[in-house]
Amino acid sequence: MRGTALYLLGRGGQALLVLWAAFSLSFVVLYALPSDPVSIMLNQSGEQSTVNQQQVAALRAQYHLDEPLAVQYGIALWHAVQLDFGNSIQSGQPVSASLAEALPKTAALALVSLAVALVLGVSLALVASLTRRRWLRDLLLGLPAVAVSLPTFWVGLLLLQWFSFGWHWFPAMGNQGFASLVLPTLTLAIPTSAVIAQVLARSLAATARLPFVDALRAKGLSPLRVLLTHVLHNAVIPILSLSGVIVGSLLAGSVVTETVFSREGVGRLAQGAVSTQDIPVVQGVVVLAALIFIAVNLLVDLLYPLLDPRIRGAAR
């Protein structure tokens, strides 16, 4: 019991360190860029801004942009510790409100995509492992490589062209209703399912070569039963280890997917904020993303021992 408490305490400390590092690194990167968010805001139309310099300086001072870097960092960190990321410089909206508005939309898209990707990826790997036709297996195992190399925006536009502009089955834009979720989900699920299929197929093949599988076969179990009840169970560990990567690719993919399908979400928020150097918003998104990664990794670490007794033993 005490061991578990200590373990969780240690993980909590680690999490704080990661959050601080993410916050500080993004701060340094954003400030290393030339220019500042205020000049960008003033030139947002792409046309020449002719606001006079004293007024610009006054606005800069409001955001402490005239202070030395260390002071700005201190102010930002002090507020961030209190979970206050300030207001967007471009839109004036509180960052917490922007995130609260955008996160559920991206979460819905990412979770549904993850489910679809799991179904697609696992089925592909299983069928490829079961088939005795060599050409079919080669074909199926070649699919992930193709799917991963398809540009997400191109897949999205293609789906739109057919299913929205051509056949009018699904809306081309927006967050309204289940119908608007179908095409973006597919777009985001395809590359993710490819990663899952590739890793799982390889892991299945490796596990299938282990001696215990021969023993099971020798006992007369059907290949399907061996695969589903014994091999698969042992082969999912690498997929679990990939969770961080998969969550990362879903978040990254949401930037492109949300843009192509004109959806509201964290991806669009991040893209807009980075391109306008809107420091408070970028920092908010970075810290949020870091939190998600920490949560996913913690969850995975807690799941390992439940799935694999060998890991349970090693941990003790």
């Binding site: 805001m41 030139n43 801004s49 006054a58 471009q90 081309a172 192509v260 004109s262």
Partner: protein, 524 residues
Amino acid sequence: MKPYSVALLALLLAGCGGPSGEVSQADPSKPHSGGTLRVALDGDPQCVDPQQAGNNTALNVGRQLVDSLTDQDPVTGAIVPWLAERWEVDADSRRFTFVLRQGATFSDGAAVDAAAVKANLEGILALGARSILGSTYLAGLKRIDTPDSHTVVVEFEQSNAQFLQATSTMTLGLLSPANLALSSGERCQGQLVGSGPFVLKSFVHNQKVSLSRREDYAWGSSLAAHTGKAWLDGIEFLIIPESGVRLGSLASAQIEVNTSVAPQDEPGIEGQGLVLLTRANPGVVFNLALNESTPLFADIKVRQALNKAIDRAELQRIISRYQKPATALLATSTPLYRDFSSLLAYDPDGARRLLDEAGWQVGADGVRVKDGKRLAFRLDYWQQTPILELVQQQLKGVGIDFQLNKSTISQVTAIQAGGDFSVRFLNLTRADPDVLRTVYDARGYNINKREPGEVDRLLSESSKTLDSAKRQGLIDQASELLLRDGHAIALVELATVLAHGKKVQGLHYEASSRLQFFDTWLQP
């Protein structure tokens, strides 16, 4: 000079009930009331408060929510009545007296009165740089008096003729006094109460802005084609960043208007039974403004050579067919525009002669050299445009090495703020010739970093009068000097190109090439 004044012609007949909703469905040319117009914007408006906004998407939304003191005729450029039924401007354009029409209200019930106008103008001034366009319009505001509830007197420190046109913009559009008490951030997020024909229902970032019609609206501009409330029940501005998706959505009738057509999509649109609507943006055309504090461009001959070395007819081949090469520093749609194409003629031999005279001799690699220095300079820019590469080739033809560094908006603004640049590439939309003074006045923004001279005297004189003939003369002389002395190398006009479905009627650009949907209706 006698005071310039405008008397109101009663264009709006009070009590003339609008024929809304009662129109026979059989006649497709008669306006039909009802329906929601879906309009695609190419980016998030960020801040929908028209007083603060600086980008076109936000200004297009804001225009529907607020009314202005005056309106501007997009054809003649004339300033005509809207919330102000008449006005007077004193002899040196420092004092502006507006008399407001009676009966207009904000959507929270407050009256549009003199106190509200005063509160708005003072509020915009207090926004400072946050009012990206308004801070320029109101520079030098001295005091605002309200002798009675429907008279406002606005006085400036110095002559400010452009203020009259500024009162027609959505930037100086009016918000309810109670609304002004909110923070600038809250208003940005859509808590806006104007007196316009539409009210804002909701604003979701990166998603949409929904407007609904104000049913008791009865104070449309004197330019409007009808009286009473708007035809449309509402407007949905949908934010669709991908140009191909906007095009496909329009063709598949998922939207009715695409406010931003990419040049590569133009041919496709005409083939699909859609309507293209285009207008040149008024104001300063895309041009190269030279930094005359550098030794290279301190020499007038080099600046003039640059101007002569550019073949503007050739530029037409690579820009949108709806965009035109510059024929002056002001775009054709700007009030008091005058054609100066004779000053913009392609004359490569003349350019070479000028460079020879300035001491720049052709060197071994074809680039001219003087005192061991090559005739080279660099432009940092962020704009999406194909023309600069062609300009680069054309300048190469006379021995000038024009280096292009396409960069991000942030890097370019940083370089400009540091002052370490040879040349800048810019345009500025404004439906008033005073935009020349805004950009080039050596005692103001001074983009050329030069000493004040004759141009600045002319520009300053032009800001003192609203007498068309007198102002035209001064603007012409200033434009001519700016071009002839090579302070600005005019290249091409900016054009706004939108596409809409066949059912959309009564849609047109206002004077600044932005959109006003009051007269727009949907065929059932």
